[in-house]
Point group: C2
Chain length 637, copies 2
């Protein structure tokens, strides 16, 4: 408990840290060049201007199929007074053929008539007509490409036709990447208690590629000061840049900052950004060395803020790697003046505007980076944004994909994954994204115009009917219900049901020995559970774990499969996926609420076709617990 922890020297604003570090590095780095074959130079950056060796065309060339003539020989020719050219007065040429003196004009094939005496022309030719003069396209000695130009396919064509076979380009910076940590293991290693699979370094390696460098990932180093120091020191001599991950924080075994202070100069330790504070920006023997935090989201943000600009500077690349769109934020985001904050958002195009829905703000959830489409960046000087406000989103999924995605917000079911898988496979350039906030949350999002549709399973206790009455109550505009599936809800328990649970009543009767795990408020499954408790007159507070909430069926199933819980409510498919036992509670209807106007969109039509398809029915049969007789039917509301 009393182990010593590092203290950050200070945390400074992101922009200040970047400016300080970039200007320090720019003073010491040495952009390196190399000579490569032009045919291999795609996407490389020119080291210096390139000048043409040859002119193009290489000679005065015919621009037409026809005959080459001396213009002076034709000057008398008119419609009424044609001129006949004898064989020694013309040369037959095809487009591109060279024109030699004394010829100085070309007459098109269409404008001549062959006769026994020679070729007849009805009009004079002016000199240089239909001739592409030498160097019309490129003159030898002319600059073809300036320095620092990223080479495109068309540039390669032009370079070759100008006689350039080799080209000097900027050498890609070589970046050493060291994963560190005693608890981390390689992805293919045996998993033990407490193991963390090392994956940041591979993410970095590929981010280096995208930024224009070459990443070299080293095997993990254990938390040992000397080992880290010696390996980093050696890599500084053989690489252009070094990344150490993690150990950049202020924990008891976070050696990186001490190592870098011994080896060189630490310019920045700690940046006012959330997530991603523990960043170390150092220079060791003239090379940039950066320590990045271990949590994947922090690592990603630290890399984008500090590593990418350094690599781009060394590689002389200037591309903006992320696209920015203006979107309406779906809920209020409060942020501190103590830091700049990066909030992951899911982005969708609904109607004619982009909408951004914030996701979880924890730093550990790498999957949330995959699920998200971009960041809403809240400046340090801002205390946050209000719901509905326009914000700029830095996208890391392509805008084209986002514009062609069906945005689904609502209750979670595994069939959403199945549809998301089938969609882009069957329908070119169409995608599905889903966010899981429960049925009621989905309808609220739909009402705010943040989604195309909301999957719901809401029982109207009065009528026994599902879904329709809720939509009627909440919406004024014309709506529709796309019928989905019947699915079976039940209590998931550990394999073999070791606690002998038979139904909901047992959960309360256990006197606390059965640890339940619940769904969040607003989830249809929570509504169903609460309805059953009320019907059976059970007090929720008698159920241990009633307050522990999970957002998806799979999260509940995973908790039950682990040490942490004994029972939870969910669908049969989730129980099957986690190999749990299942105590059936009853079937329910899982459908899609949608504003009627969206039914005409091509990707919504594709969605409905999928629900009706044999492939979909086959896939959900594999999952188990579903029936789909009405899937894809539309009820106008």
């Amino acid at each position: 408990m009393g182990k010593k922890r590092n203290l950050y020297l200070q945390t400074i604003p992101v922009e200040e840290a970047r400016e300080k570090y970039l200007s320090a590095v720019s003073r010491i780095i040495d952009v390196k060049f190399e000579t490569i074959d032009v045919i291999d130079s795609l996407d490389r950056v020119t080291a210096k201007a390139v000048y043409a060796r040859y002119s193009s065309p290489l000679f005065n060339a015919s621009a037409m199929d026809g005959i080459a003539v001396k213009a002076a020989d034709t000057s008398e020719a008119t419609e009424t007074n044609p001129v006949i050219l004898s064989e020694d007065q013309y040369v037959v040429v095809d487009t591109g053929d060279p024109i030699h003196p004394p010829c100085d004009a070309v007459i098109m094939a269409e404008d001549i008539v062959e006769t026994d005496e020679g070729v007849r022309i009805n009009a004079s030719a002016h000199s240089w007509q239909h001739i592409r003069p030498i160097g019309e396209d490129i003159v030898s000695g002319e600059m073809i490409l300036p320095s620092s130009h990223k080479i495109r396919p068309i540039d390669i064509g032009v370079l070759l036709s100008a006689g350039i076979l080799k080209i000097d380009v900027v050498k890609k910076p070589e970046v050493a990447i060291f994963p560190t940590g005693t608890e981390i293991i390689e992805p293919d290693a045996e998993i033990e208690d407490g193991s963390i699979i090392e994956s940041n370094s591979r993410m970095f390696e590929n981010m280096v590629t995208v930024a224009g460098g070459i990443g070299h990932r080293f095997p993990p180093i254990i938390d040992d000061y000397e080992q880290i120091r010696d390996q980093v020191s050696a890599a500084v001599d053989t690489h252009d840049m070094v990344i150490v991950n993690a150990g950049s924080s202020a924990g008891t075994e976070d050696f990186t900052v001490h190592v870098l202070r011994e080896l060189g100069e630490v310019l920045v330790h700690g940046v006012a950004v959330k997530p991603g504070k523990p960043v170390i920006l150092a220079i060791v023997r003239g090379k940039p060395v950066i320590g990045l935090p271990g949590y994947p989201v922090s690592a990603y943000i630290g890399f984008e803020n500090f590593v990418t600009p350094i690599i781009q500077m060394m590689a002389k690349r200037t591309e903006k790697l992320t696209e920015t769109v203006e979107a309406h934020i779906s809920k209020r985001l409060v942020s501190s003046l103590k830091h700049k904050e990066y909030v992951r958002v899911k982005v969708g195009k609904v109607g004619d505007k982009f909408v951004a829905a914030p996701l979880a703000r924890g730093a550990g959830a790498a999957m949330s980076l995959v699920r998200a489409d971009g960041f809403c960046v809240i400046d340090q000087s801002s205390e946050g944004v209000e719901a509905g406000e326009k914000v700029n989103i830095d996208l890391y999924r392509s805008r084209n994909e986002i514009e062609n995605t069906v945005v689904i917000i609502g209750s979670h079911d595994l069939i959403l994954d199945v549809i998301a898988d089938i969609m882009p496979n069957k329908y070119r350039n169409m995608f599905v994204s889903s966010t899981h906030v429960g049925s009621m949350g989905g309808l609220m999002a739909l009402r705010r115009g943040e989604a195309h549709m909301a999957p719901i399973h809401l029982l109207d206790e009065a009528t026994g009917e599902y879904n329709v009455s809720y939509i009627k109550k909440m919406f004024k505009e014309p709506m529709a219900l796309i019928k989905g599936v019947h699915r079976i809800q039940g209590i998931m328990v550990k394999k073999g049901n070791p606690l002998g649970i038979k139904g909901i009543a047992d959960l309360a009767a256990s006197g606390g020995s059965i640890r339940y795990v619940n769904r969040q408020r607003g989830a249809g499954t929570r509504v169903l559970f609460d309805y059953r408790l009320k019907k059976e007159n059970i007090d929720p507070s008698s159920i241990t774990g009633y307050d522990r909430e999970m957002a998806t069926h799979m999260a509940v199933a995973a908790a039950v499969a682990s040490d942490g819980a004994d029972a939870g409510m969910g669908v049969l498919s989730a129980a099957k996926a986690m190999e749990l036992d299942f105590i059936e509670v009853g079937p329910e209807e899982y459908d899609f609420a949608i504003p009627a106007e969206y039914l005409q969109l091509p990707h919504i039509k594709a969605f409905i076709e999928i629900l009706q398809s044999e492939e979909f029915r086959g896939r959900i049969e594999e999952l188990g617990g579903y029936s789909a007789e009405n899937a894809g039917k539309i009820i106008m509301i």
Copy 2:
């Protein structure tokens, strides 16, 4: 002359041709998959959905540094009534450490006090506080990526941490590329009269890469029916697609269409597009085979219209490869209803709008593709656009580069190349582009707001002063003149001056035996030449070639160096570059006219700094014929 030419069956609109061909190909192609290592999967496309093998976290993990406890043991703790936990009631944990039963909560290190009896806490812990439950990020069995997803660095990280080491991805289509033509030579071959350096195939190879395939370029085939047929036929069996270039036209030696009719089915021959009509779209034994025209611009447009979409379809890629911006077109463009037209444009950002200046419309000029930044596409249904009208431009240079480019339109001089080379090298993310339309053309463009500055060398005959009076006459707003260089104009003649030319008078006196080549109207050099002719009382019509106009000093120099001309006016540096003799006419002032408001822009400031730099002075000294004492000085007008 009487050789037979092919007839196009018909020419059909681009969209109709593409739709017809894509739907035919989509019915026959078979998307292929392959299994690769996840660490090598950047930018590849998933063949099917990927599901997590492991949950993440793999276990219930501490989210903080602190102690793991049983929440029930802490329920009595308050500020006034602290609880002491004995050593067997807690476990010290760091962030990420596993939490085992009976512990079910974590208390942060900051919230505990170590005492001799044990650890003192002042508040109760609720169960599951500061614990990341198993599967919080990813639950095993959950879908991580859908099918047809392009893999990003973050995806690679998540796949590895979910225990996925191998992944099924779409195989990149393999595309055979055949250059054909008896006159074409390899770029490293000896150049003979009539040789054309083959470079389209290398452009295609790299365009295939960009579209998501793998290009295989074959050595050139001569214009021989059997050779083309046999090689294409063999390639169809070993590749996913074949491109034949050229021979797609209707010339006497254009065999491609006949070969493809013998081998398979020609769906389209001839598309209503300019440039790029001679396109052949065929299917041979279930594989797409495309014939493309030989002129580089036509070839590029044909590839983008027909090859790129087929490769993307086979590779399951959906990226839009070109960005579109809205720009004001600088001059009227007339187009025929007979075809869709692609007009190359230079694009600049001047003030707050994009401006697009059309370039030459010929199909032969590959360099014009390099000089241009994109296409203004005029639909077949349109007769053209008016000057100043807003048009959409498909960019093939990055928008970021365009936004950071100094746009120069006006008189040509080699020092513009020097500045364009220095700029991006010294100033990160700043570029120079120049278009050569002569001094007066430059001032007109400046007045229309199409350029940041206009390089001019206009002598006021009344005062003997250069440039200033012209600017005063033409502009009302505050203007400035950035002083450039003094340069020497003269008559360029062939090396050794075989015709013994001594000055301008000799050009007229030769009785037509000296072939002159002129600059275009509005060029400062043309103004100077006409001024001298007037002064010496020479009638322009007495000069052979007075009507033959070239747009740059280098083009004139190249013409004089070739068979085609004997003399032309230009600057000493151009004569030196082409190793010509030079008869001095006199010095002149070459400066930059600029609206005063632009002087504050960062890239204009950089431009001025370059003019004042030692590097610039050194570089123009190498060129010869310049002096730069006042370069970079600013005269407010």
